[in-house]
């Protein structure tokens, strides 16, 4: 008996020691930094063909840079976001990671976590052109956007024809006309994933972009000043739309893209006629239908309509994208890899595999998906692409804004409340 106890004690001790060692070990081991020949790279193309394509890209880079070892990790998007957050907390950031720009990037820059690429990748920045603006802080570029898309209305061509809609709307009044026609034909006009808040908030962002002049939005972004009356007007436009009751039943808790009953699922399965969403919508819809085709060739797209008396240019689009950022601690070869990722060759392959909307102008012609090819034309003919406000203003102010816009959709907040809540969150920060 005594012998047994002692053996058990020994086991317990060993377990305790092992546990404390692993617990302490977590802090000191580091994947990034230090070693100049190993590059860690996280991305979210975890499905084929994207996953295989990036593996090949890494191999090609290793072949042309002897001695360099590229460790690629492909993750589902949500997993990657969560892991990146933890990585930033611990300061152990992968050498190459996805950066969404705006206020988030500004925070990373302020914390000294990300590398300034302005001079080391000057040629690539010049080539990409205006799209890099979302990834610049105080005139310096910190990440290279490899895919930039725009938000607009995706619609079901069959349902439009069924309701007798022949022309896509270009003003808010025309949009209301389309909504009335669809409702008269017994079709739910719009779905919105207001449960996730940001899809609802996109309406307000667009209304503000159409109502406010470019200068006013820039002032808001740099000085966190929302005092211009055009922001209240944006809320009034949204309220007017919500009052028309164009949305799917239960839209206040509808998720954006999870499952067939989500906002994207409703559009994909022909339950609603339109949904305002980003460039990822065709891909999301493909994943939500049994045949993997989404809406197929019934898919149509039109931009957010002009608002009456608005100060904004109706050709300006709202969107955003993903850029490759390099950790401050990363070796120089990581910068080389990012430059290679933006090269004509890699971006052309990226376009051919329909992995996104390439930013390198030589690659834009290679996109094979017709819907995405159409979007690229819209994006490139826009005088500018305004970054999503929640990204632009950062998680805190953007989050407060989104929360209040969701309340506006529920009829529990006024247009003035949205402005007040955003301003309050901004004032708390400074």
């Amino acid at each position: 008996m005594a012998r047994k106890t002692r053996a058990a004690a020994l086991t317990a001790l060993c377990a305790g020691i092992v546990m404390s060692i692993t617990a302490c070990g977590g802090g000191s081991s580091s994947s990034g930094g230090g070693d100049s020949n190993t590059i860690t790279w996280w991305h979210n193309s975890n499905n084929q063909p994207g996953k295989g394509y990036y593996e090949q890209v890494a191999k090609d880079f290793e072949a042309s840079h002897p001695g360099v070892d590229v460790q690629v990790t492909a993750m589902a998007h949500e997993d990657m976001v969560a892991k990146l957050q933890a990585a930033f907390q611990s300061g152990d950031v992968p050498d190459i990671y996805m950066e969404r720009g705006g206020g988030e990037l500004a925070d990373h820059v302020a914390a000294g976590l990300t590398k300034d690429l302005s001079t080391s990748a000057a040629a690539e920045i010049k080539k990409i052109g205006g799209s890099v603006a979302g990834w610049q802080v105080d005139g310096k570029t910190y990440a290279l956007p490899f895919s930039v898309g725009v938000v607009g209305f995706w619609y079901n061509k069959d349902l439009f024809a069924q309701a007798g809609v022949t022309k896509t709307p270009t003003t808010m009044n025309e949009l209301y006309g389309v909504i009335d026609k669809l409702k008269a034909a017994g079709i739910t006009p719009l779905s919105v994933g207001a449960g996730d808040k940001w899809p609802a908030a996109h309406y307000w962002y667009y209304a503000a972009i159409r109502s406010c002049s470019q200068d006013v939005i820039e002032t808001a972004a740099t000085k966190m000043d929302f005092s211009d009356p055009c922001f209240v007007k944006a809320g009034e436009i949204v309220k007017q739309l919500v009052d028309k009751q164009p949305f799917n039943p239960g839209f206040l808790t509808t998720p954006a893209q999870e499952g067939a009953t989500s906002a994207s699922g409703l559009l994909a399965t022909g339950k609603v006629a339109m949904e305002m969403q980003g460039h990822w919508e065709p891909g999301v819809m493909q994943g939500l239908t049994a045949d993997g085709k989404g809406l197929g060739d019934k898919t149509g797209w039109f931009p957010f309509p002009a608002v009456e008396g608005g100060q904004g240019d109706p050709a300006v689009q709202m969107g955003g994208g993903d850029a490759w950022g390099v950790a401050e601690s990363a070796p120089d070869s990581a910068v080389e890899l990012v430059k290679y990722l933006l090269s004509d060759k890699v971006q052309k392959g990226f376009a051919k595999n329909d992995m996104g909307l390439p930013t390198n102008p030589t690659a834009t012609g290679s996109v094979s998906d017709p819907a995405l090819a159409e979007l690229i034309k819209v994006r490139d003919s826009a005088p500018s692409v305004q970054l999503y406000f929640d990204t632009l203003f950062g998680a805190n102010v953007g989050g407060a804004m989104n929360d209040e816009i969701a309340l506006l959709f529920a009829g529990k907040a006024t247009p003035q409340d949205v402005v007040d809540a955003s301003q309050q969150a901004a004032d708390q920060e400074s």
Binding site: A9, A15, M19, G195, L252, T253
Partner: protein, 326 residues
């Protein structure tokens, strides 16, 4: 679970010491034996203490520390703001509403699940046909993972063509236009109904177990005295069950205060913040808005509320159950 382990560890300590002393008194190899005993105790207790320190004490300390800083989740934590996070949280209507929602769930759970669970337990304690099946049916929801149950109910409650609305409409009961979960005024009640479905099984199970401890002789004596079934339940079973009921109320209260999974899956705290709880508030502030200071302050407030309620309940109600009979 961890606290339980630690508690047993703590109680073995003096007992073991006493035993060691006893052995020394009998004249064995005194010094080294006591030493070995202590070492053994240390070895046994260390893993539990390490686990507890790592997963209970450290997170609490780190949340308290976080609550005094304005911190975005990365970079150095050096912007000390004192109690500002606490005043912001307490002044935030969303949080105060969340506290109210938590307490609504606490009281509703006790007011509804206690009589319902007790009634079902008393019924299932009788010799009725299909008793095993009925017990299983009532207990299965409790075994199902909360997230899975939430997803299933979310689909059942889909507005428009969801199963529940279709069923209700087919028998002529009108359903809310925005669905049961999408209408702010009834969303919390809907969540509560699902929670009752989920957790009634645990109440019934505990009460049934408690009923097994009621001595059969008491019922026989009552029967001889001509007591009806109802009288026997009211005067014998329920009073004998009181300690179990008090323990269940305690568990239910703590569970309701920490309510998160079901709400997060079904409504995410919406629509229009109608179903936020303290836990969904702090998760939304921390991981979505990256206000880790605010989230830290909210979690400390949640901890204090839970701790004070647990302590009061222990002192005022549970003490008579835990004290030994004299």
């Amino acid at each position: 679970m961890t606290t339980q382990v630690a508690a047993t560890a703590a109680t073995t300590d003096p007992a073991a010491a006493r035993r060691a002393k006893a052995r020394r008194a009998t004249g064995g190899p005194a010094g080294s034996g006591a030493w070995r005993k202590r070492l053994e105790i240390l070895l046994f207790v260390t893993p539990a203490l390490v686990l507890m320190g790592l997963f209970v004490v450290y997170p609490i300390v780190s949340a308290v520390r976080m609550s005094f800083y304005s911190w975005k989740g990365f970079g150095p934590m050096n912007d000390f703001v004192g109690l500002k996070n606490y005043t912001n949280v307490l002044a935030d209507n969303v949080f105060t509403d969340a506290v109210v929602h938590n307490f609504i769930i606490v009281f509703l759970s006790i007011a509804v699940q206690l009589p319902l669970g007790l009634g079902i337990a008393l019924l299932l304690n009788r010799n009725i046909r299909g008793r095993g099946l009925l017990r299983t049916v009532i207990f299965v929801p409790y075994v199902v993972a909360e997230v899975i149950a939430g997803v299933v109910w979310l689909q059942l409650l889909q507005p428009g063509d969801g199963m529940i609305e279709t069923l209700l409409r087919s028998v002529g009961i009108p359903t809310p236009e925005q669905g049961f979960l999408g209408t702010p005024s009834i969303a919390l009640w809907t969540v509560f109904v699902v929670l009752t479905w989920k957790y009634l099984g645990m109440a019934v199970l505990l009460f049934l177990a408690g009923l097994q401890t009621v001595p059969h002789e008491l019922h026989e004596a009552a029967q001889l005295d001509g007591a009806s079934w109802w009288q026997a339940q009211r005067r014998i079973s329920v009073p004998m069950l009181a300690p179990t009921i008090r323990t269940w109320i305690f568990l239910s209260m703590i569970g309701s205060l920490q309510l998160f999974d079901m709400v997060w899956i079904m409504t995410g705290g919406g629509p229009a913040n109608a179903t936020t709880t303290m836990a969904t508030y702090l998760i939304a502030q921390g991981s979505e808005r990256q206000n880790f200071g605010i989230a830290g302050a909210a979690s400390v407030i949640l901890f204090v509320i839970g701790f004070v309620m647990a302590l009061l309940y222990q002192l005022l109600v549970l003490r008579r159950d835990t004290q030994p009979d004299r």
